[in-house]
Amino acid sequence: MLSSFFIQTLNGLASASTLFLVAVGLSLIFGVTRIVNFAHGALYMLGLYAAYSLIERLGVTPLGFWGGIAGAALAVAVVGALIEMLILRRIYHVPELFQLLATFALTLVIKDAVLWAWGAEDLLGPRAPGLRGSVELFGKPFPQYDLALIAIGPAVLGALWLLLNRTRWGTLVRAATQDREMVGALGVNQKWLFTGVFALGAFLAGLGGALQIPREPAQLFLDLAAISDAFVVVVVGGLGSIPGAFLAAVIIGLIKAYCVGVGTVELFGTTFAFSKLTLVAEFIVMAIVLVLRPQGLLGRPHGLQRVAAAHVEQPLRPAGRALRSAAIVGLAALAALPLATTGYTLVLMIDILVFALFAASLHFLMGPGGMVSFGHAAYLGLGAYGAGLLLKAAGWPMEAALIAAPLVAAAGAAVFGWFCVRLSGVYLAMLTLAFAQIAWSIVFQWDAFTGGSNGIVGVWPAPWLAPRPAYYLLALALCGGAIWLLRRMLFAPFGYALRAGRDSPLRADAIGIDVRRVQWAGFVVAGACAGLAGGLYAFSKGSISPDSTMAVSRSIDALVMVLLGGVQTLSGPVVGAALFTWLQDLVARGTDYWRAVLGGAILVLVLAFPQGIVGALRAWSGAREQR
């Protein structure tokens, strides 16, 4: 018992080293550039693939192996420097949300580049020459390579400490972390400082990836897995704190290892599979830390951060007569569509309606509410699974299950939102991501109840709604109605109170508005609408899986739709959702590399139209009116 505890401790420390390498780079980059680099996981993955190819070419000798790992890390550092010079350098002044999106777009591009260069097969690398065996520790065998890994973490921590505290460059990095403007004012060339820090961060991520080569195969999903882990470590440790990243990596590495070690336990007559809790455990740690100590274990307190508004928003104007007539004509045309076609167009239109509601609900939260969610898919998924399980497991009629979908999602949003409204800015965005990952992990791992990764099949609508035109009209009525309701709310006192809390929490409090409570209510409303979209989605597809409803990429889709249309417009999300869904359908059928195309499109959007399409159109027409 005791010996297995020690072994699990060593296992935990070995994975802590890898976690630390990835997280510390992310933390360094954030400290200096204030960019949360979503692409960090992709750089980690790139390091693993590069090491595989380099070692294959150099030969599995000690020199070839370690040379390959060093070469891979350096190659990733070069990629990082190029990314910084070509893209990030242009977006330091744009709001954080756009930076996050741009780096997420890079993730997509890198993923497809890796797919193109290495293919979709898992690649298992060689074991380290000289460290292939295991040693006897506490009466059990323990891999030699993992012992080396345990030593590498603290070694890198020490090297970084020396670099930052004993060199002039390190002093500049520390100074820039504390006060960027001041360092600029002192005449330091910030451009090269930023490039250097980004390259160093990328090097560490690449090294973390390359060192994994004997332990796990190179796979395409590693980017998102690594970035989720790194987010958790950095947030738990405190953004920008290097010792914090180490401490958090050790804590999380150990907790995960103990969860595996405990295995399956009988408690009060029920079996708990702790080994399946690993994914959930780290996010629970993060949620607890964020609520009790929002700045992280070793981070400094941070002021209010705002993510959303790029420019000062204009007051809301009720729709004029022209816009109203246009909306009525448009709705009438949409209602008449089944007369013209019953084919694939209707399927696509149902998707567009569902995602228009999904995007509108996210917009409600991040625009007027000022709370950017990176995990909005959680509520889409809760609605979809709520409806699916009530239909299949509880045997409810389809109509009742669909009505319950928004209620299930609203309940989830009430729980998650209670924590989230206590934070703001990047931390809020990360907590929403964490909750979405928790929801995803539970659905993914709870085979017996949710069907695990296979999901639920046979989620079909009632017979009278089964014909495609009937279901389309149902989706049109429900999505149109819900979007209209969201709009009414925005013009009503509730929506005004939400915007008041975003514009000036101080003033809102001073005129009797309970800002957190209003935001919480906003969270629940947005969750309910996303849940309705999820319910409609489930019955339109007939089957649901964790990846089609709850994955991070779904959340990002919604963000892109909102930003595509423009955060500061009410019609933006609908336009953005329509365009995005249509384009995705078009591109995904035409190429295997739709992710890269999407990523490229996001980058263009962020670099060229930070106000979104509707925002840009409005600015353009405004400029014309003034002429």
Partner: protein, 250 residues
């Protein structure tokens, strides 16, 4: 004349530094009381304890007999205490009128309504308040495009929306041109006298203080060192020693 606000033995320290020590004073309806003192005297600390933004270490603050300490700012406001900020805080994405309407909607406890458009609620009432502070012509403009002096007027209208019996004004004329300061303070004095609102304000500009305050209290290093009519305070040797020496700076 009974006191609207009774502050007794209010205290606050930050890590061993006594920012406010045993401060006591009273304020009557319709009275303008200026709280002055050199930088670091504890004015803002004192102020933030009164309005609920900062927790006090000890003492009591009674408004119409009810204890304010321990209440959140929004609860203090609900009791009938209005306030303005040193750096104006308004809702930038709303029009001037909507800012006032928002306070009226909150005052009437209709924040939870989610159907009727806000624009139609208490419009005339908002316009009356804006008219009183001379901002009616700009009622339809966005707050984000207003001049700073006009924002101060909007804040005054917002602060009047809940028919307060007590108004807390932190540096009401900070950041304004000298001419505007006199005008804004004259307007404030006129309004609060006609509505018999008690006003506590902090102020750096001694011209404003001596022109409009009914009474003055002076803080230095967290202690109340003088209180009385402007003439008395002006004559106090202690005040001259610790405070008026810095008058030349303004």
């Amino acid at each position: 004349m009974s006191a609207v606000l009774v502050v007794s033995r209010l205290a606050k320290s930050f890590g061993g530094v006594h920012a406010v020590r045993e401060v006591s004073f009273e304020l009557a309806a319709g009275e303008l009381l200026a709280l002055i003192g050199p930088n670091g005297a504890g004015k803002t600390t004192c102020f933030n304890m009164l309005n609920g933004q900062l927790a006090a270490d000890g003492g009591s603050v009674r408004f119409e007999g009810r204890e304010l300490l321990g209440l959140a700012p929004r609860a203090v406001w609900r009791l009938g205490v209005g306030r303005t900020f040193q750096i104006t805080a308004t809702f930038a994405s709303m029009t001037v009128r909507e800012n006032v309407q928002m306070a009226l909607v909150s005052h009437r406890r209709r924040l939870r309504e989610w159907w009727r458009p806000t624009a139609r609620l208490y419009r005339e009432e908002a316009d009356r308040l804006l008219g009183r502070v001379g901002m009616l012509e700009q009622a339809g403009r966005a707050c984000s495009v207003l001049a700073y002096g006009d924002l101060k007027r909007v804040e005054l209208a917002v602060a009047l929306a809940n028919e307060p019996r007590l108004l807390l004004m932190d540096e009401p004329t900070a950041g304004m041109a000298p001419q505007e300061r006199i005008a804004l303070m004259a307007l404030t004095a006129e309004i609060v006298r006609e509505r018999r609102i008690a006003v506590l304000f902090t102020e750096h500009d001694m011209d404003v203080v001596f022109a409009h305050a009914d009474r003055i209290i002076v803080l230095n290093r967290g202690r109340l060192i003088a209180a009385g009519a402007p003439a008395e305070v002006r004559a106090s040797a202690q005040v001259q020693q610790v405070y008026l020496g810095s008058r030349g700076a303004h």
